[in-house]
Amino acid sequence: MPEKIEGRAIPLPLDNVDTDQIIPAQFLRLLEKKGLGKYLFYRWRYDERERPKSDFVLNDPRFKDGSVLVAKKNFGIGSSRENAVWALTDYGIRAVIAESFGDIFYGNSIKNGLACIKLDEKTVNEIIEKAKDGNLSVTVDLLNKKVIFDGKQVSFEIEEYARRRLMSGQSEIDYTLSHYLDKIEEHEKNMKAFMKTNLSETLKKLIEG
């Protein structure tokens, strides 16, 4: 993950874009995360006969190579499906700018190198307005915590942990195991009896009927 992301802005001036709209449940039955980009915003992008709807922004040729999606409030609320993030990244979206994000979606984005940047309403509206003709380039500078567009620089806030993870690209699991395994083991030794009750035996009986 680079320190800077630069790309054409795609305006999606909507509040409450939920993860069911980002990727409908029918595509959650696939067993892989690759190739989901073609299902991104499926029901907004295609009609019942799977023809592209001309009034949806992703079908507008001016935004074809866009990689910075700009939406309004509560982007990614709803289901925990990480497929929503995979669909965005597989399509080629590298950053989402919005006023706020659903918590689980936001957490998922960090694990997949998708930069989710929170900006105030006024700035978001300004970017959306300027992006409408398809000629706005936006840069997300993670190192300096700035969004740059149309000769302007706007600072944003982001959790240090999230910023580090976005820039490092290292496996979080390997990181946890190499730094904290001893602490995990120590915690397990001190768990209260009811917390660590050996469930396996009772469960086995239940499962076997």
Partner: protein, 470 residues
């Protein structure tokens, strides 16, 4: 320093901290067939194992057929996903309640029902409605697939401690007003983003008086207000709810556990980042009219008229929603006819939910224009209901009495709302296309759904006969 229940559970599970994020130990991990396959295949590739299979439990729920166990309607993709969970549970030694298990059910119904979820624990599951388990007095998080893998391998989660939002609910509820109505009312008030970044702690006399399953509905729906999770202090009602569950601690361990659980109260002067007080006595049964759960009205109210709204974004959003829903501005809620009724989901398919709906259905018939489905939250709930004879009430009224699963809440199996059709649904999301492409969803309580099934349109429960079924 005074602490909240969330602080207390957090402190006893935080292993490390890096800036704003905590490394939190997870006591119980639930998993299902939809959000786990990518985690398991990555684990295979990288040679990881499940650290604590004994603290993990897998169940098939999202795309299981509900029509039959012998001759189920199942498509290839669903079958592949269920087979994958079966293989993965064998390879990684994770206990699995499969499609045929007598204890199979919706992940957030079986966790508390089996005593896998208990007070004072940290709980995680690859499903947004994991906040449900907070009703027992636990800190419970819905997580994504990368996090599912992280929990499997390390039994921990990197997570920012949520801010804390206390919602106090006082007052006696009116006839026909349930936990679902309170939840919808609150979401209508604070919006779909009102809880973002927060864990909601519910308290007040209405919550203390509420049975545990109603509290689960309240905590379950908190995610629809954007909350990271929800929690309620455990009390005697919770202790007796979990006491006889198969996986609950027994004997001396039980006594010690209850002593500890009693200490999990929020201290009187504990600080909250946000507070709200709700007067339950003023609330009527609620019906959503739009395409997210905050678009909600009282049953004796009307669909809003976008032309009266000044804020342009909101106006556009309302117009878009009414168009999708096929409703007229200002239309009376009780004038909305329904084609389908769905009683089910992790929100409202526990025994008490089935009882509440049965009280309305007893001795009545489903309207001839309505197709009605009752899908118990677990196979065990189904057996308990059948022992009470509830299935007879449903079947005699004209409902289909199904096997358990997520069913028409998410429409991943063959239970779908057809295009343009309108449902009264006890589930949690009225998003566009949620119950099936082009389907129109109205979220309501189980008793409201039952009444809509009988009358063919929404009715105020104040005007409906409610029978005793016990």
């Amino acid at each position: 320093m005074p602490y909240t229940i969330t602080d207390k559970i957090w402190q006893s599970h935080e292993i490390a901290r890096e800036d704003e994020f905590s490394l939190l130990y997870i006591d119980r991990h639930l998993t299902h067939e939809v959000t786990s396959p990518v985690a398991f295949s990555d684990m295979r590739q990288r040679g990881y194992r499940v650290r604590r299979p004994d603290l993990s439990l897998a169940v098939m729920d999202h795309n299981v057929p509900t029509d039959s166990k012998e001759n189920p309607t199942m498509d290839d993709l669903s079958k592949k996903q269920m087979d994958a969970l079966w293989d993965n549970s064998k390879t990684f030694n994770v206990p699995l309640l499969d499609f045929y298990s007598p204890y199979q059910g919706i992940i957030h119904v079986i966790g508390p029902e089996l005593g896998f979820s208990l007070p004072g624990l940290t709980i995680a599951a690859g499903d947004s409605h994991t906040s449900t388990h907070g009703a027992l007095g636990s800190v419970a998080f819905g997580i994504g697939t990368s996090e599912v893998e992280h929990v499997f391998v390390t039994q921990t989660l990197w997570i920012k401690k949520p801010k804390q939002f206390r919602i106090k609910i006082n007052g006696k509820t009116r006839k026909g007003v349930s936990a679902k109505d309170l939840a919808l009312y609150i979401i209508g008030k604070i919006g779909t983003g009102g809880g973002i970044g927060h864990i909601i702690e519910y308290s007040g006399e209405t919550v203390s008086d509420m049975e545990v399953e109603g509290r689960m509905t309240l905590c379950n729906m908190s995610i629809e207000a954007g909350a990271r999770s929800a929690i309620i202090e455990p009390d005697e009602k919770v202790f007796s709810y979990v006491k006889d569950a198969p996986l609950a601690p027994k004997g001396q361990e039980w006594e010690e556990a209850v002593d500890y659980w009693k200490s999990l109260k929020s201290d009187p002067n504990a600080r909250y980042d946000k507070e709200l007080e709700v007067d339950a006595s003023s609330i009527k049964p609620m019906v959503t009219w739009g395409t997210n759960p905050s678009m909600v009205a009282r049953v004796d109210g009307n669909v809003p008229d976008p032309s009266e709204i000044k804020d342009q974004t909101l106006k556009d959003e309302y117009e878009r929603a009414l168009k999708y829903m096929g409703l007229k501005p200002g239309q009376k809620i009780t004038d909305i006819n329904v084609d389908y009724v769905f009683i089910g989901s992790c929100t409202n398919a526990r025994l008490s939910d089935l009882i509440e709906a049965a009280k309305v259905l007893k001795g009545k018939k489903v309207s001839k224009n309505v197709k009605a489905l009752a899908v118990p939250g677990s196979e065990w709930v189904k057996r308990k209901a059948e022992r009470m004879g509830l299935h007879r009430i449903y079947i005699d009224a004209g409902f289909e009495w199904r096997h358990s699963g997520c069913s028409m809440c998410i429409a991943m199996n063959s239970d779908r709302l057809p295009p343009g059709k309108r449902s009264a649904s006890t589930s949690n999301r009225n998003f566009e296309n949620r119950q099936g492409p082009g389907g129109r969803t109205h979220l309501v309580s189980p008793a409201m759904a039952a009444a809509a099934a009988v009358y063919g349109h929404f009715v105020d429960l104040a005007d409906v006969d409610i029978a005793e079924v016990l």
